[in-house]
């Protein structure tokens, strides 16, 4: 069995294990064993990948494997990874691992919760390893539908509305992707569904590309919170339970950016060049509008959700710049945003679990009451606003650097506009930190609260280590990404 197939296989086995578990202890055991195995596997994969690259293997995808699935449509179960997918797999397994610990205190229907959670991870992992259009799309949809029940059953607030809105909007996006995939497949002569082979054929007529590119880009863009299709995101994130918010903002939204890059732009390069300006404008709006919206929110989760719209907009913004530096920055931003937003949602979940409110007007002086969580919250905030030494700085620096390299006015102007988001981010983060962490606590109920438990500490520390690790030593991962971005970018430009 190919090592990559283990990624979706392990969560499937975990589902089986959960199914036969009889009590919470066994459920936790299965989850910890499985998510640790995933984490170990992805770390191993990073080293194995780097090792093979160091040994001089320059193939675009490594660890490839292909099995015929539906021969009449040339559908294969094809897997393979490049530096981008390796980074995404690492990110996903970190989030699954920490998500498990972040939901340690869950009381109701634990088994069902984790089973849907594992199904979600099957989809996520499967998506990142696939290099076949059909298989990739299948895993994409597998990752979407568990969200409905995860939010609808275990969520808070207006959960039914949010769950339905999120599911329908994302499914609408995936309907666009489906027709785009059919367009790409039949447009390229209908001989293969393999992404690399379609790219190598490079024979989709330009007039067809002009139709399919916007459709596919918007389809994936819905999940990447592309303005104006981002409206599911704040409601969805605000209502979702902690671990689901983490996985969803941390990993699932990255599926959108990844898909836009790997399918829309890579397979429809001419149209991507022609039409990128439309989407550059839209993503610039996402970036700035998301940041401004975050400023006026009063719910902690809404603030973070709008901040995610802004940061994920930056991912799409960067890949549309179509140069290797910006694209590397985009992938770094996916990693960085995934980690720090997961950290944020984990902390918000922990604070909400104690105070039972997420309204910043009702929270203050938490630093005295729960110092560990508060310090971590400050770190997450600093990473979010791009403090050097943490991951956000590396990613955003690379993106804006790359984006400014284009020496025409349009690209430079939008880059400058997008840059303002850094300042706005600083505004809402600092305001937020000042408001809820410092000052004096006025609510006597809150004074009785306790600090993080061991499972929460573990989840948070792992994430902080990853955020700081990426910020302090970005070279090993950015080189790996840059290697893999280069062939894609050069394909798009030629």
């Amino acid at each position: 069995m190919n090592i990559l197939s283990l990624f979706p296989a392990i969560p499937l086995l975990m589902m089986l294990g959960l199914w036969i578990s009889r009590n919470t202890k066994q459920i936790h055991a299965v989850m910890v064993a499985g998510s640790s195995a995933l984490l170990a596997l992805s770390v191993y994969l990073v080293f194995a990948f780097l090792g093979m690259r160091a040994a001089g293997n320059t193939a675009e995808m490594l660890f490839t494997d292909s099995l015929v699935w539906y021969a009449p449509l040339n559908i294969h179960y094809s897997v393979g990874v490049d530096g981008i997918s390796v980074a995404m797999l690492l990110l996903s397994s970190i989030i699954v691992f920490t998500g498990t610990f972040a939901s340690w205190q869950m009381k109701t229907d634990v088994k069902e919760f984790f089973m849907w959670f594992c199904l979600l991870s099957v989809g996520v992992f499967g998506f990142f390893i696939s290099i076949d259009l059909f298989t990739m799309f299948m895993f994409y949809e597998v990752a979407l539908i568990p969200m409905y029940l995860l939010i609808g059953v275990w969520g808070t607030g207006r959960k039914e509305y949010s769950a339905m809105k999120l599911t329908l909007m994302l499914m609408g996006g995936s309907a666009l992707i489906l027709i785009g995939i059919l367009g790409i497949y039949f447009g390229s002569g209908a001989t293969t569904m393999n992404i690399l082979e379609i790219a190598a054929l490079h024979n989709i007529p330009v007039e067809m590309q002009r139709v399919w590119f916007p459709i596919v880009f918007i389809g994936f863009g819905v999940l990447g919170a592309l303005f104006p299709f981002h409206t599911w995101s704040p409601d969805g994130h605000a209502s979702a339970p902690t671990a689901v918010s983490m996985l969803h903002a941390g990993v699932l939204m990255k599926l959108g950016g990844y898909g836009c890059f790997r399918i829309a732009m890579y397979l429809l390069p001419e149209a991507a060049q022609e039409l990128s300006w439309i989407f550059i404008i839209l993503t610039t709006i996402s970036v700035v509008y998301g940041a401004f919206s975050a400023c006026v929110q009063t719910d902690l989760k809404y603030i973070n959700a709008y901040s995610s719209v802004s940061h994920c907009g930056l991912v799409l913004f960067a890949i549309l710049m179509m140069n290797a530096t910006a694209a590397t920055g985009a992938v770094l931003q996916m990693l960085s945003h995934g980690l720090m937003t997961a950290l944020f949602f984990a902390l918000i979940g922990m604070i909400y679990g104690r105070t039972h409110t997420r309204d910043i007007r009702e929270l203050s002086g938490l630093m005295r009451i729960m110092p560990f969580l508060s310090v971590c919250y400050v770190i997450a905030g600093l990473a979010n606003l791009g403090l050097p030494g943490l991951s956000g700085f590396v990613a955003e620096m690379t993106i804006f650097n790359g984006a400014f390299m284009d020496n025409d006015t349009f690209h430079r102007v939008v880059t400058i506009i997008a840059c303002t988001s850094i300042v706005i981010t600083a505004v809402y983060i600092l305001r937020l930190v000042g408001k809820i962490l410092y000052g004096t606590c006025t609510n006597p109920e809150h004074l009785k609260l306790t600090d993080a438990t061991w499972d929460e500490r573990l989840a948070v520390v792992v994430l902080i280590v990853a955020v700081a690790g990426l910020g302090l030593a970005p070279m090993w991962v950015s080189d790996m990404i840059n290697d893999s971005v280069l062939p894609i970018i050069s394909h798009i430009l030629n």
Partner: protein
């Protein structure tokens, strides 16, 4: 045409029909002569008999085309495949009807139920294998008239009697339309043999009109918009097990036959019937989806869902390719297991809760009957086309088959509709899992037959898509324009 009749092929080509007649005769005789103890095991006996019938016929043989009675009856391996699928569906319906048939007011009508159901199945078999419009018509009537009796089987229930009356009236009307259309064909082509007609169809105005009549007649059976008006009332009023039979088996057979006739007989009029289907598909999918959103009764809800599913099936027909036919058969198979799972849950809940079929009654079902709720959820996910369940694959193939022939906008409209359909399927899921309820349906244990049938359906929903061999097997025998 040489009318000399050759009987030597009867046993090889017609073995499916002959063995089905044998099953019907055995059921009839058993009903007549079985004693008190024998009647108690009538239901398992019939299920086993049906299982034997399927076992004997599941693999289509012989592996080559054949014809009987001077071309009245045709045999092709692909017909054998669709017949096996319909037989499996019938077995599943039988398994699910156990507790309904044990009820006091129906138990004495068991024999009639089995014989009538199998007669309609026989009618569909002849309809599928027809090589002549008369044969086709007789088969269709044989499939329709007993169906009206089945719909009205709970005759003391006001709804059921009303549904039966509505069904037979609309069925007669549609048959009349179809006969009218067929008579024009005879007038313009001078023959009713499929093989001879194909060459003599040239698409003149009279033929276009008669094709519309013919299509309208079959449209009633498949319940496509605008011929769907009987569907919701009949589905709601009929006994649930009959509804499930009607929604899957009868629809599947009619859809398949429509494709065969359009491809084989009306090959010269492809432009005309593609246009006709184009309009009907958009109407069926969209109208049915919009109506389904507002339904509160699950049987009516699934009635509208099945109308929209019929629209999706037509996407395979419109392509007219061998690949389209493969997708159609595969779609019918997947739709069958998913819909029968949903109806199986509805039927068993209805039997054990004193007739509850409203969507609000299902609130909180997961708390009391988790397995049934999960079964229903997976079935609905499959109907909505969510991976990794089989419905995703069958929908994808249907879309691909229509897309390949250039129906891009049509596929786009159908895809947008899948999102709408997901909304109403999720409403049921929401009722079962999320909406709280103070007095949910009490916990109960379904009868053995229902449980077996639900396991079979669930296995189908999960496995059929992930394993490609079924699709590959079907694709070996399909044919197109």
């Amino acid at each position: 045409m040489d009318m000399e009749i050759d009987f030597s092929g009867v046993l090889t080509c017609m073995h499916t029909e002959i063995s089905l007649v044998a099953v019907i005769v055995v059921a009839f005789l058993y009903d007549l002569f079985a004693g008190k103890r024998g009647r108690e095991i009538f239901h398992p006996f019939m299920c086993i008999l049906m299982l034997l019938f399927i076992a004997a016929n599941i693999v289509p043989f012989p592996n080559e085309d054949g014809e009987l009675f001077g071309g009245m009856y045709l045999y092709k391996p692909v017909y054998g495949i669709i017949k096996s699928i319909l037989a499996i569906g019938t077995l599943i319906v039988f398994l699910q009807s156990g507790s309904w048939l044990r009820r006091e007011d129906t138990s004495f009508k068991r024999g009639e139920y089995y014989v009538l159901t199998l007669s309609t199945l026989l009618g569909m078999y002849f309809m599928i294998s027809a090589g002549h419009f008369l044969m086709f018509f007789i088969g269709m009537e044989l499939a329709t008239v007993p169906m009206a009796c089945l719909v009205a089987l709970d005759k003391y229930r006001h709804n059921s009697a009303e549904a039966g009356a509505k069904f037979i009236l609309s069925a007669l009307f549609s048959s009349g339309l179809m006969l009218y259309g067929i008579s024009f064909f005879y007038g313009t082509a001078g023959t009713l043999y499929f093989s001879d007609m194909a060459a003599r169809i040239d698409g003149n105005a009279l033929q276009i009109m008669s094709m519309v009549f013919f299509f309208a007649g079959l449209g009633f059976k498949i319940s496509l918009v605008p011929f769907h008006l009987w569907t919701a009332d009949t589905y709601q009023g009929a006994p649930t097990n009959v509804t499930s039979y009607l929604s899957v088996i009868s629809k599947g057979a009619a859809a398949f036959t429509l494709m065969v006739v359009l491809v084989k007989v009306f090959g010269n009029m492809v432009a005309q019937w593609q246009l006709m289907l184009y309009i009907v598909i958009i109407l069926s999918i969209t109208v049915a989806n919009l109506f389904a959103i507002r339904q509160k009764d699950l049987k009516r809800f699934l009635a509208f869902s099945s109308i929209s599913q019929a629209g999706y099936i037509m996407l395979a027909v419109i392509s007219g390719t061998p690949y389209g036919m493969t997708s159609l058969i595969f779609y019918v198979l997947i739709y069958m297991v998913a819909n029968l799972a949903a109806f199986g849950v509805i039927s068993t809940v209805e039997q054990h809760s004193g007739g509850k079929v409203g969507m609000d009654d299902y609130n909180g079902l997961y708390r009391t009957n988790p397995k049934l709720a999960v079964t229903m959820t997976l079935a609905l996910f499959s109907l909505a086309g969510i991976p990794p369940f089989a419905g995703f694959f069958s929908k994808f193939f249907i879309f691909a088959s229509a897309f390949e022939e250039g129906f891009h906008v049509l596929v786009f409209i159908a895809l947008i509709n899948t999102v709408i359909s997901l909304y109403y399927y999720l409403l049921v899921v929401k009722a079962m899992f999320i909406t709280p309820n103070d007095s949910p349906i009490a916990t109960f244990r379904s009868d053995c037959g229902t449980r077996i049938s639900l396991v079979l359906c669930l296995a189908g929903v999960i496995v059929l898509g992930l394993v490609s061999s079924v699709f590959d097997g079907i694709s070996l025998f399909s044919f197109g324009l």
